[in-house]
Amino acid sequence: MRRRHAGLAGRKRAALAPLALLLGLWQAACGGHEDRVRTALQALDRGAPAEAVAALNEQLEVETAAQLPALRGDNALLLLDRGNILLSMDSYRLSARDLGAADKSIDLLDMSRGAAHDLGKYLFSDDVGPYKAPAYEKLLINTINMMNYLAQRDLSGARVEARRLAVMQRYLRDHEGETALLGLGSYLAGLAFEKSSQTDEALLHYDDALRHGSYPSLRRPLRALTRGEPRSPRIAALIEGEAPPPPLDETGEAELIVVVGFGRVPQKVPQRLPIGLALTLVANDLSPTDRARASELAAKGLVTWVNYPTLARGKGGYSIPTLKLDGRSQPMEQALDVEAQVRAAWKKNEGTVILSAITRTLARIAAGEAAQGATEAAAEDSGPLGLLVGLLTSATLTALDTPDTRGWSTLPARIAIARTRVRAGTHDVVVGVRGESRRARVSVAAGGWAFVPVMVLR
């Protein structure tokens, strides 16, 4: 009798082993990425970027922004956020370092996803495994970092970012088509080469920028740069109609470029969608077997919701920045609608994300049923234990299923640009956007230039 009891206890222990492992994993589980950046984003909403940096430092387990964190897990993403906020605080050197480190790490993550990660993604959650940055984020790392180097008048550094951008643009053009190629990056790359007196390279980049936007602010600089001899049809179309202006050093003027990033792109947030609606949304993509299985489980009341990430509202989509130069208003043109890029990329993937959430839900139910069956087979008189193990297995996997809300949360919703000739000397620049007024005083020599980046991330 004692021996039989001991045998049963052993079998029950064996049956409970998967349950213990799952419970352990449940305890180890944490919220989605949106939890890690919540405090920082709330601080940005209050107009307190220093607090936002402190909140990110806490997540990155470093004490100050001068420290680089260990680049493990999703720290590269938080580093992108910190770099962007540091740029908004005019800490260009630290921002350039953060974005540069994150750039290399994102490259590494991009190339490191393996079969184990895919398995985890299938069983647990979309946010298992390395983060795969969407095309617009990869391009914006170099674009925004170019702003840091231009602001420091480090043309060598800006040209390096321009070349890194060109490598990525070429790769995306070959693999993903033209949709993600952002004109602002090429505009700034053209500026970096133009100010380095590398005219041919500058014109190539400007021409590329004009493929993606009209950029009227380029008209006068291109007239001066080409001296009326355009190298491409796009440049010719932009500069036609007027004689080229005299070079800056001949007139004793200088050039001022102001770039304003404002608002924030929509953040990814978790959403619970009724299974019926989810099935309708992906009706054409789900296999008949899976659809029948899902409908059967939904009818039994075993599956009522699926978890998946969706885009929240953006901030700043309709704001219009104002620029005053020495008290006089200057026109600004839209250089990039980042929010539109984010929404377009999301729309392209949304069906796959929902489909993956449904498939995962079905896998969870199947795992629960398997665990229940195994427990019952191992312990003949398990009673309600088998059912409990089955339910807990399913429930644990549900708890571990955190929708993948990872993304570069602090990207500005839109970016505007102004480019104008000014007399040599000191000038007051005042930018008004999103209820904030930012001031800068810049000095430029005859024939020189100054680049003023302004980021208002609220």
Partner: protein, 204 residues
């Protein structure tokens, strides 16, 4: 054949264990002498000490074997030589590594006693003074003006280029470094050499 109900949870367990293993261990800081071959591993596509040593070795071996260096050794004239920053035309932020390379070149040439090397530090101060009037940093188009102030008979300069390519799962950066020795009076290229190496991020 029907699958045993025991197999499915076993497969599930294996999958869970695999996923848990992917979490891995934490990092540890070490010194170069604690880990054999630590300096051998490439940790990025940038330039590291080993690359600098290779470039230095290739370039200086070539310079010392050149007719101009042999002539200096023969006549013992010890002409004044200025060393200018190597222009970074790459897709990597390697300016500080290139600066380190130039300091190594300065050290080597000073020890070789074939030329009188203008101190790189003194040279940078002079460049900064000249560029105050122009409102910027080192400008290669002003080299003639720097040389006048330094009294240099020769100057050493160069450029580093890359061919940077990316595929879905790999990134390869091929470096090409060109170094030149120019005679100030005639602008003739007295010596030139190309050194190359490759760094990459590959899928194992």
């Amino acid at each position: 054949m029907p699958i045993s109900p025991i197999i499915r949870p076993a497969a599930l367990l294996a999958a869970l264990t695999l996923a848990a293993l992917s979490i891995g261990c934490g990092p540890t800081y070490v010194r170069g002498n604690q880990v054999e071959g630590l300096d051998d591993a490439a940790m990025s596509t940038g330039i590291d000490r080993r690359d600098i040593e290779q470039l230095l070795h290739e370039n200086l071996t070539s310079l010392m074997a050149s007719p101009v260096a042999k002539a200096w050794a023969h006549d013992g004239s010890r002409p004044t030589l200025a060393i200018y920053p190597l222009s970074n035309q790459t897709s990597e932020h390697i300016d500080s590594q290139l600066q380190a390379l130039l300091s190594d070149v300065e050290t080597y040439l000073a020890q070789a006693s074939l030329v009188t090397v203008v101190s790189v530090e003194r040279q940078q101060q002079m460049v900064a003074e000249v560029e105050k009037q122009h409102g910027g940093g080192f400008d290669p188009s002003h080299i003639a003006e720097y040389n006048r102030q330094l009294g240099a008979k020769y100057y050493l300069t160069g450029k580093v280029f890359t061919a940077d390519e990316r595929t879905e799962d790999e990134r390869r950066v091929q470096y090409f470094m060109f170094m030149q020795l120019i005679e100030v009076a005639t602008s003739a290229v007295a010596w030139q050499n190309r050194a190359a190496f490759t760094k990459a991020l590959i899928q194992e």
